[in-house]
Symmetry: C2
Subunit: 325 residues, 2 copies
């Protein structure tokens, strides 16, 4: 690994609003040691903001930054290291010469969450290790903790380390996330969005909401894509790469998600948008789980993405414009 020289590392919060909570009774609580502590939680709260950490290179080789958007029930930590302790895609993208923004969408990680039902109307849900084993295609449903897919690239013996990344999630916060990402994009300006899973869906929506600013989209096994594409949307200029791992046909869940994503690809192509679909097994890269940034061959997968970004940047003036800082 080479060193990376940075001119700034700084986090920001974007979006959200303030809201009021009134009428709560004052609670009689005790703190450690048994001291009584009355707790009055009535008052003003921030809600709906997101968190983003900005890594700005001293000498970026590409003019546009990459915004990393995590999947559902995850945070930006998924980009920072692999479960087996290697550098994550954050480091790889910095080494490749991109400025990077690592994001936590509203409700999770450093973006914080708000009390329910007083502010959020619904309760969160939690993903068990058993469910994750299936959702991330480490192995078949019911296979946790012993049965993984043969030749998987997922570092199975570090599954517990991976599971420590999980955070609770809400089922009805997509619009909250998109509104915060709107603010992020408005602040950052022209950018490349790289989204995983639910974050891939958010990236697809953001590309339609900001066709002027989102100059390229990379989705890794996206869910929740904007399909049908609204009639008024103009996605034609935005190059998109959609990447898929292995074992999709062994998962009813992922077969369905893939089908939905294919409909989105088809609709984009009908609008004239340049979409590349990369099935890793089709290019000889086998064994990837749903979390290919966490797999043993994460560097190899990222190399495919960086190669596409490089080629796309050299072709598109919208991606190779001079730095505006």
């Amino acid at each position: 690994m080479s060193n990376v020289s940075l001119r700034s590392i700084r986090s920001h919060f974007f979006g959200g609003a303030t809201t009021q909570v009134q009428g709560l009774p004052v609670q009689d609580r005790t703190v450690a040691g048994g001291t009584a502590r009355p707790v009055d939680m009535n008052g003003t709260y921030s809600v709906g903001q997101m968190y983003a950490m900005h890594y700005a290179l001293a000498q970026p080789r590409f003019p546009l930054p990459v915004l990393l958007w995590h999947g559902g029930g995850m945070t930006g930590a998924q980009w920072e290291a692999t479960p087996d302790g290697r550098p994550g895609w954050l480091w790889g993208l910095l080494e490749a010469g991109f400025d990077v923004w690592v994001c936590d969408a509203p409700e999770r990680g450093r973006a914080s969450w708000a009390m329910f039902p007083e502010i959020y109307p619904s309760a969160p849900i939690f993903r068990s290790h058993e469910e994750a084993w299936d959702v991330f295609r480490v192995g078949p449903a019911g296979g946790y903790p012993g049965a993984s897919h043969a030749d998987t690239q997922f570092p199975v013996e570090h599954f517990d380390q991976f599971a420590r990344q999980f955070v609770p999630r809400w089922l009805d916060h997509n619009e909250m996330a998109l509104a915060a990402y709107d603010e992020l994009i408005a602040a950052v300006g022209p950018c490349i969005v790289l989204g995983h899973s639910q974050g891939g869906g958010h990236a697809g929506h953001a590309a339609l909401r900001h066709p002027d600013l989102v100059r390229a989209v990379v989705t890794v096994e996206p869910t929740g894509m904007p399909i049908p594409i609204p009639a008024a949307a103009s996605p034609a200029d935005t190059p998109q790469l959609m990447l898929w791992g292995d074992y999709l046909d062994r998962s009813p869940l992922w077969s369905t998600y893939r089908q939905s994503a294919e409909a989105y690809v088809q609709a984009l192509r009908e609008r004239g948008a340049p979409v590349t679909v990369l099935d890793l097994p089709a290019v000889g890269v086998h064994g990837n789980s749903h979390a290919c940034m966490s797999d043993r061959n994460s560097d190899e997968v990222l190399a495919h993405i960086v190669a596409w970004l490089s080629a796309t940047s050299s072709r598109s003036s919208r991606l190779s414009q001079p730095l505006e800082k």
Copy 2:
């Protein structure tokens, strides 16, 4: 600002355990768009882990890393930037030549939290803007949003940006946090711990629990210090700096906290430990809130800490030992 050259940026999770949840009914939930989704949350969960982001310099000037431990209801984001958008102490410490670990204690930020009452016995509490105005000594109790202390260094017009950093907290998780910090320290090895508020208390406890590895402690307006100091503890070799801001005498809450911290300082000195108490107003630095890393003069306050660390490192062989990596 100068550039900073890093050889690695990588996050880690430490501590915690897995636990089981059984007997929950399967919920009938709906996702965005109205699709029915049964949710079965029975299964295995990770609980009690902490998150830590490690920034490793290409050429550190000091042999020991600084571990940054946030305050109650906060995350590591408090060290990454100021509410008025300047670089935080993270960047300042990297510029000064220290490797840095930015931590989220269990239950908050990227460390995640667990369902209650099934896993955590109690419910979280939430800090309103009104309470924070008082707790952080931006202004007098009841002063939110208009009345701030005269000549405060807190960037009052950016209070909302500061409040976006707040996260829910639990009142009975001190031991959970200390256990995770034990694992962090065991993994990092010899280190300097810099803790704010509740994190300062955690730093004080960690210094007693790991007198061999915690080589220096900086506490910024600490609460929850280990007082009385257990008879078996040997804090004599660990240099400690305790730093205080302004307006303490205008706050009954902080007058009490200060008194308790003074008792701890007295007990340390009776054991022969070298403790420096730095009242910022006494050295001509006026107007600091409880969050001096967020104040307008945050760089000036950090300079005092770096000066103390430099002087202490040059005096103590335990702080100036060769790098062991």
